[in-house]
Symmetry: C2
Subunit: 314 residues, 2 copies
């Protein structure tokens, strides 16, 4: 696309045209060479949206909850963007398709942009594309952007680091889900949600979460609240929206929000730079000969890397 077209698309997105928004995110997703220019054009219009990550193990009701959240935010006249990340598991049971269908009830609402992005291939690709997609939605005037993932791995945690506030959904009767969610994800949760709170064993899950709260360091003055919801009714979603607003106010009041955005920018630059270097490496003329020596056992991989990087520097 030409710079003129880009300027026109950005103007369209700013005017709330869903097609312009969709087109821009597609450019970002394809890794178009225009993305660099696009980022420059969007920069003045970003920084408004509250980016909220919604995560949790499969089956807790993430998309029902996301859909209910959209409804509640729309009742408050907020513009909502949804970025649904599919980590493209080779064994995903197709749950995401069903999710997208459930979200379709908001498809005709022009205050809502819903966009799915696949994270196929290199992690670097997603790490580069997702922040740009958020900027497009932000510049398009979204007050809140929800990031939803299907919930299966490290790449999901990486995506959640893009959020200002992260909601961790759990539900009773799913085995010991607090235990299961331990590695890495509890640490980044700002709001805990006990979904399916009408189930008899919801009390036990609540108790486990309060135990977790108590164990947290007193130095950190934000204690993740525990919100009880039944997303299917929906009930409790208003309290969730309120908790998110409180968390955002806390982020702004304490300067923590600024620190998070700084860390995020740092991480984005690192990921983009690593991706750029990786492309150069893959195209390096000396790579094939070095690989042949490593495959033949006459050269070790570490020495090969030293030589390759020396070649690139010349």
């Amino acid at each position: 696309v030409s710079v003129d077209e880009l300027v026109a698309l950005v103007a369209g997105a700013r005017a709330g045209q869903a097609r312009a928004v969709g087109r821009l995110i597609s450019l970002v997703e394809q890794g178009s060479p225009a993305v660099s220019e696009l980022t420059r054009l969007l920069a003045p219009y970003t920084g408004h949206a509250h980016v909220v990550g919604v995560t949790g193990p499969p089956g807790v009701g993430k998309s029902t909850c996301t859909s209910a959240l959209i409804g509640e935010l729309r009742r408050g006249k907020r513009r909502v963007g949804v970025l649904a990340i599919d980590p493209s598991s080779p064994f995903s049971g197709g749950a995401l398709l069903g999710d997208r269908i459930r979200m379709a009830e908001h498809a005709t609402d022009d205050g809502v942009f819903v966009r799915s992005m696949a994270s196929r291939g290199q992690l670097g690709g997603m790490a580069a594309a997702a922040p740009q997609a958020l900027r497009v939605l932000d510049a398009a005037g979204c007050d809140v952007i929800l990031i939803e993932t299907v919930g299966v791995g490290q790449s999901e945690i990486d995506v959640m680091r893009l959020a200002d506030s992260t909601v961790l959904l759990l539900a009773p009767g799913m085995g010991d889900s607090v235990q299961a969610a331990k590695a890495g994800i509890l640490e980044i949760a700002d709001v805990f949600v006990v979904n399916k709170a009408d189930r008899p064993d919801a009390g036990e899950l609540g108790r486990q979460l309060r135990g977790l709260q108590a164990m947290q360091s007193a130095a950190d003055d934000w204690q993740p609240p525990i919100v009880q919801t039944v997303a299917t009714e929906p009930s409790g979603i208003d309290a969730l929206v309120e908790s998110l607003a409180e968390h955002r106010a806390w982020l702004q009041r304490t300067g923590e929000g600024k620190l998070r955005r700084l860390a995020r920018a740092r991480h984005e630059i690192e990921a983009l730079a690593a991706d750029t270097v990786r492309r150069r490496l893959m195209a390096a003329p000396g790579l094939t000969a070095l690989a042949a020596d490593v495959a033949g056992g006459t050269l070790d991989a570490y020495t090969a890397v030293d030589r390759l990087l020396a070649q690139l520097r010349d």
Copy 2:
């Protein structure tokens, strides 16, 4: 560790000492600075083992099958290494723990090395460590090294690329598992296994797989065989071992094995180099200032990357 200690450990591993093997893999996993030297020391003793990847959706019986495979290979007096990769899903239900327990029946057999590796953190970490761990097991005299993953994502496909031969396990009665396994994993399977073949609906799964075989390009002269097993009995495992031996013979006869090892070395060098560069980037003095400008909206991320890479080059 000193070079002397390293030499002693390599000698111990070559003599089949499980403790030396374990110690060396720990060094590799921790990303010890000695890994480069270790790779040099191991290089002359590698290239013997047949590396076999075992993958498939959760619940098909991967670890029962791996355990049965170990048993069958041991009856043939082959030395066996097992590298079990835990992709460290934040929501893994702890299935891997159970798997490890099931494999414990081989724990007292000194012809079997079983080792779990976590793929926490950066993909680069795993991509760097797994090939080195394979070299340790190879140098320790393993005839066959089985790589098993818990089966959930892109990182798993990356790990499977380390194998000479890849076994895809499917089982009847798990929904449309052929459909579910489509994205990326069917393409890398060299042998299909229909496990739980005593179930009444096993015939339908077999038909689907034969349909897949028929659709494959005739240009590729290896047609993945379909092996029927009941890993719990076990039955059919001898046929699986035979199919794997045939695949290895094909790899050697056609030169395809050499091509795969070349591609693998290339991929390893790329991943190691990208990891090295990423570490340098994270330590670059200019990064914080650039991140502040990007977070503040006065600089776009792409320009920041250009500047950062220019700084590193100086």
